[in-house]
Symmetry: C2
Subunit: 219 residues, 2 copies
């Protein structure tokens, strides 16, 4: 590592700086160096067993973004923000997904796949007979929200505004982006870019419950 970790004051300042941006400056684009790090915040996000049951669709085609507007109740950031990311998760995660991951492990660690047989059996056993009720699609969706958290936090750290959106019709997004045929389904959106000068939300105080109500110390 070339740089020391960041100091907590800086991190806290960026967390306070962040807010749900409702109006983006349509002409301000995220520079490539910053975008590449945001892309990697998605690629490097952690997931249960490391399975990465997700894909992230970055919509650059303006006509397609226009098509995605109406099924998101006309929320303007869908078309106005510098970048729009559709977070999709793998449907029906199963043994094949585990096998694919084992192949990748073998490739990265330059070892035969047999070396990971114990791990493979463990994950397959978990999917087949989970120790508690498990719905694969809901479980994959939760993992995808970790990636959303990574993306938004890294954006905030670099001074990039974001707006996460659940208000859209997943079925229509799946159709427009042809996700179902690939085995994926849209679960959440995130617009990223720069706040417009006149976004009224920017100066509103954050509405949060007091720390003492949400963080409980068990001593």
């Amino acid at each position: 590592m070339n740089n020391p970790p960041l100091n907590p004051v800086q991190v806290l300042e960026q967390l306070h700086w962040r807010y749900a941006t409702k109006k983006f400056a349509p002409d301000k684009k995220i520079p490539e160096a910053i975008w590449k790090t945001l892309e990697q915040s998605l690629v490097l996000a952690p997931s249960s067993f490391g399975l990465q049951p997700w894909q992230f669709f970055v919509i650059r085609n303006p006509e397609i973004r226009q098509k995605l507007l109406e099924p998101a109740w006309g929320q303007k950031p869908v078309v106005e923000a510098s970048h729009l990311v559709v977070f999709a998760n793998k449907q029906n995660v199963n043994e094949q997904d585990v096998n694919r991951y084992i192949q990748r492990m073998a490739e990265v660690q330059q070892a035969p796949p047999e070396n990971f047989a114990g791990f493979a059996d463990m994950v397959k056993g978990y999917l087949k007979e989970p120790p508690y009720p498990l719905e694969p699609n809901k479980w994959a969706a939760k993992q995808t929200y970790i990636a959303l958290g990574f993306f938004m936090t890294c954006a905030a750290m670099m001074g990039i505004d974001t707006l996460p959106m659940e208000g859209f019709m997943p079925a229509q997004y799946d159709e427009i982006l042809d996700l179902s045929s690939k085995g994926y389904s849209a679960v959440v959106l995130c617009a990223a870019g720069y706040r417009a000068n006149d976004d009224k939300n920017a100066d509103k105080p954050k509405i949060r419950y007091p720390s003492t109500e949400v963080v409980q110390y068990i001593d």
Copy 2:
């Protein structure tokens, strides 16, 4: 803001530095200034409609941490990491939760609650007749995973190691921590602290699919 945002190289370095720490140094504690920022990463995390359907339990009592070990399949970070956070989400989010949030809005913005009646109706309508199938507990759990993402990313930025854990019995955690009576249920754990010098995982390469397989550009 006193400091400029962080540069993307620093952020990327910290993302690469992060890994799922399996062995923590039991004697190394997170300094208070850093912990306070981590606490705020939970408090300031965004959630759908801003409802914050969560509570975060930081287990400091060593005897209780010991009790939480076995229902987490003996994963040592439960007792050895500097901090253990149990992420819990509100069960059966309903109109009362919306009312509570409106009260808080009124308090923070120093305005009468009536000012937010339109917003309140909209959220209540969403909960009563969601535009797509919605299970309140699964939905709240996803929000809580955003907070997990914020927590882990901020930790990585500050050089703090973490381990997220889904491998535990939620029902037993709820009982030990008396969460059900409070209307909450444990959904995921995160240990935080410092990697042990001999954690074998530290030097292993990350297993990630190539960027081109997980991030798709729609041009």
